[in-house]
Amino acid sequence: MDTCDKCGKPQIIINRKQSGQMLCQDCFIKFIQEKVLKDIRRQKLIKKGDKVLVALSGGKDSVMVLHILNSLRNRRIIDLVAVTIDEGISGYREDGVRIAAQNAEALGIKHRIISFKECVGRTLDEIMVDSDDRNACTYCGVFRRWILNQVAREEGATKIATGHNLDDETQSILMNYLEGNIHNLTRIGVQSESMYEGFTVKIKPLREIPEKEIATYVLATDLPVHLAGCPYAGDSFRAKIGTFLKEISKEHPTIMYSTLRGFDKIKPVIKEKFSQKGSMDICQECGEPSAGKICKACSFRLSWNHE
């Protein structure tokens, strides 16, 4: 019978093929918590006195971020606020919003729920009824970033923490390589590096944790999480790349780490050569930072007024 590599207990809950480590439930939970906190320290993602806004969807990744960062809040190192964006996806989002609220309440963390309907004027479902040329992820990503950035300023947050995991990050790297989006590659990293005023720094504390380990962690710790797939994700390019990476990881369990490490090494060179500088403006509609006269979120909103 297999036993835990750390304590020798017989009941194993994970076989970490990338390291050959087998761990029992207690040792796995401790290992993950320590790993995330160590990554935060090593990469200087958070400093004492930060107010961190957690983008809390209620899914496994953001719930885990909230709970681990709460250990820093309990030690009075940081302050936390949780923000859930209700995109308006009927039959899917309601459970996530409820579970997000449940987690924030259990920890006594201030929680705000902000809907696309109130901020943008339409739910994502309504947007998609009239849209045939773009996929839902485009609108969702643009509006979510737009809303989070505004709320972060309202709340006086110094960082925005998201639940991006190792799978998400390696998917982004590979997608942008394959599509030749070199400019997008310059923006991938453990924390955003925008020099422009008005942008709150975004951090990814789970960037080195595989998605399956996050799922195992939330189940092992019995955290309430929303385990469901977004109905709009469908057969996206990201989903195809994700499936490919998971498939190839079976034979090459360290492949996602090596993709990430290799990318982090060449990023400074790509950034120096391809980063677009000095073109940031203020959106004439909403006052948010923008690459042009009108930001992407407002250009979508204005296009609806013309319909």
């Binding site: 297999d2 809950i13 076989n15 189940l219 989903a239």
Partner: protein, 66 residues
């Protein structure tokens, strides 16, 4: 031997040959092992865990595309 398999709200009894593992069971059910966490008799287990007569196996889908 027979095991009970719970997937979401669906529960069924399955006949399984002796000496099979959770991984074999998932293959039988055509469920990709990398997208699920499995509990045996309410405890999380690894895919190499043997399946025994009377086990209750809960397959929890945790990874979705997109």
């Amino acid at each position: 031997m027979q095991v009970t398999v719970i997937i979401g709200e669906d529960e069924k009894k399955l006949d399984v040959n002796e000496g099979k593992t959770v991984k074999n069971l998932l293959q039988m059910l055509e469920i990709p092992v990398e997208t699920v966490v499995v509990k045996k008799n309410q405890s999380i287990i690894i895919e190499e865990e043997p399946v025994e007569d009377g086990d209750i196996i809960e397959v929890i889908k945790v990874i979705y595309g997109g």
